[in-house]
């Protein structure tokens, strides 16, 4: 499904994400890596409170905005593809210790070489995966 290039909302939304990450670092001394926060919120009893609050805030604000604008984001992928993708994202972000936010935003902001390499690898592999699925195999949705 084609989507339009939306430079203004992309920059504005990105700045809000950056502001959130900066606030978390400034006020709590914590990195806003979503995969890490989710894992620790599930597994660590101590220090669970702020993580649960952060994740609740994320879900509430996004849900409210999507309801307000009436956006229906659906890919139409079957459950098999969603499960495969979810397993890979969960497994990969645990093994690689970060995702788009942790490595891509916070890691780069910390000038981390590990994060730069991680971003280049996951971006490159994601470009290749989408190419193969859409242009070699003809799309999965």
């Amino acid at each position: 499904m084609p989507t339009e290039f939306t430079p203004v909302s992309a920059l504005l939304g990105g700045a809000l994400i950056g502001l959130a990450a900066t606030l978390l670092y400034a006020l709590l001394g914590r990195i806003a890596g979503i995969s890490g926060i989710v894992n620790a919120a599930v597994e660590q009893r101590g220090e669970r409170g702020w993580r649960v609050a952060f994740l609740l805030g994320l879900v509430i604000a996004a849900t409210a905005w999507l309801a307000y604008t009436g956006a229906p984001p659906r890919t139409g992928f079957g459950s098999g593809w969603l499960i495969a993708a979810g397993l890979l994202v969960g497994f990969g972000t645990r093994l690689g210790n970060g995702c788009t936010s942790g490595h891509g935003i916070c890691g780069l902001a910390r000038l981390s070489k590990r994060s730069l390499v991680a971003v280049l690898v996951f971006m490159g592999v994601a470009f290749a995966t989408t190419y193969v699925l859409r242009h070699v195999l003809g799309g999965i949705a």
């Binding site: 084609p2 939306t6 430079p7 909302s9 920059l11 939304g13 809000l16 950056g18 959130a20 990450a21 900066t22 670092y25 006020l27 001394g29 806003a32 995969s35 989710v38 702020w50 609050a53 952060f54 994320l58 604000a61 996004a62 849900t63 905005w65 999507l66 956006a71 984001p73 890919t75 992928f77 969603l82 499960i83 993708a85 979810g86 397993l87 890979l88 994202v89 969960g90 497994f91 990969g92 690689g96 210790n97 995702c99 788009t100 490595h103 935003i105 902001a109 910390r110 590990r114 994060s115 390499v117 690898v121 996951f122 971006m123 592999v125 994601a126 290749a128 995966t129 989408t130 859409r134």
Partner: protein, 135 residues
């Protein structure tokens, strides 16, 4: 209590940012990843917009040396590259490239799109699998 309130505020801003930027729509993410299709460069500007705030913000905090409450900042990231980082990032890239969901946008869709629920459940399972297998 103050930490909880600050974290909630940061989470609200993060979720709002994801939704405003359009990154909650997996189609938009996939169309960024699809260089050979009708390319939508929006995701690059989301990253750019975020880094425009975090780069100076983090640099200022590093000079300051501690958080607002005087908490130590996380130690400087290790420069060490290892197979786990490379393999993990590559597997994440495959999963991201399949469905266009990474952890933040998937959670943002949790109450909005039923498919995100399936994805997030699988994501939690995958993470636990890695925790057990790759100790």
């Amino acid at each position: 209590m103050k930490r909880i309130a600050f974290a909630l505020l940061a989470g609200l801003l993060f979720g709002l940012g994801l939704a405003v930027s359009g990154m909650t729509d997996p189609n938009k993410v996939l169309n960024f990843l699809d260089l050979a299709g009708r390319w939508d460069p929006s995701l690059a500007l989301v990253m750019g917009g975020a880094l425009a705030v975090t780069l100076p913000g983090y640099a200022w905090l590093r000079r300051r040396g501690c958080s607002y409450d005087g908490d130590a900042l996380p130690p400087a990231p290790s420069p060490r590259l290892d197979p786990r980082l490379l393999v993990g990032s590559a597997l994440f890239g495959i999963g991201w490239g399949i469905a266009g969901y990474c952890p933040g946008p998937a959670l943002a869709n949790l109450l909005h799109a039923g498919e995100a629920l399936v994805f997030v459940a699988a994501m939690l399972a995958g993470s636990q699998l890695a925790r057990v297998l790759a100790r």
